[in-house]
Symmetry: D2
Subunit: 115 residues, 4 copies
């Protein structure tokens, strides 16, 4: 039973938690905490790599990165589900905000916006 | 130009970075670092909330959470795009692994698997 | 050879890295990334705990928390050492800033300052 | 009233929270969450920097890094205080563990230990 969309993944993960009676652990607060912990594990995969190494991962490194990225997505999907918002919609709304904040002609090629 | 799927969002974000010539900043290492930083901002929204408060966010709190969740998703999508893997596929593969690791009858209602 | 102060710990960790020829991995960027990854591991120890459980850790949980807190401190100490600043001094300077930002009479007992 | 040691900083931060009646927010769970959020802010300072840029911060960048590092240390100190353990002692114990795990002759100059 594979999910081929974010909506299907959302339902699949909801079921996964429900049958295990894990909803009691999945408060929005706890899910946000689990998400940042998984994001930390993802970061750890890259911490000692030089830029060019991160662009040329071994198959073993890539497999670990995919596994950690999956964990981050899972908690993000659960969080949005618990709070009743649509992740794709939220992402599109944010892109529109960022298009206003970062006009192409002002930020092209520079990271001046990071201070 | 809204994206109504993860694939469309991926393309939209790729364009967003490309026209700003930001690809040079978007090495997998840097994207993983930006992702965990955004996950930290998401966690910050919940840090002083009690569980029940996190389950009953104000409209203002929810708006900030959606904005931070959008940032996490954006970097996750960019990372998967740069590394050439499918996020939904990776998530489904991980669910299958977890179904094996956490059999319902063993973990039902308990968090013993956290130690 | 135990260190009984932050200054001694700084030297001990510098030696630890030097004899292993790990300084080449310890750029400030990499140390910051390792630090947030360890902070994520620390957060993970608490992610499914209720507040009261976090205030009454088992000996085993406490041992893991101490181990993760030690990792965070180690990378923080290494980072400050590489960048040439004094952690205690930086912390005291920040407390002074925060005393100005959060006057007692305005913030007593409330978390309004979190938005 | 500056603190010139970790013990004095611990007391100063304890007072800072006590007079603001913030202890109710400072459960170990919440402190761990605040700590990883601050670690994320520290990581954010480095996210778009190349290694060499991170080794040659501008004065403005360094000031921000010191401020974020101070926040991480503050929450780490508060957490250890709330849980009743000595940070320096925990760090020294971990160094001893790591000396056993990473013998010089086996790991010199290599990051093979990261997988």
């Amino acid at each position: 039973m594979a999910s081929d969309s974010l909506a299907e993944l959302t339902n699949r993960l909801k079921q996964f938690a429900a049958v295990r009676e894990w909803d009691k652990f999945h408060s929005p607060k706890n899910l946000a905490m689990a998400l940042v912990a998984e994001a930390g594990e993802l970061a750890a995969e890259f911490q000692w790599l030089e830029r060019v190494e991160s662009e040329n991962l071994t198959q073993e490194q890539l497999a670990r990165v995919k596994s950690e990225a999956a964990d981050v997505l899972a908690y993000l999907v659960r969080l949005a589900d618990r709070l009743g918002f649509d992740l794709i919609e939220a992402a599109n709304a944010k892109v529109e905000v960022n298009e206003g904040r970062f006009p192409v002609e002002r930020v092209r090629g520079v990271a001046s916006w990071v201070g």
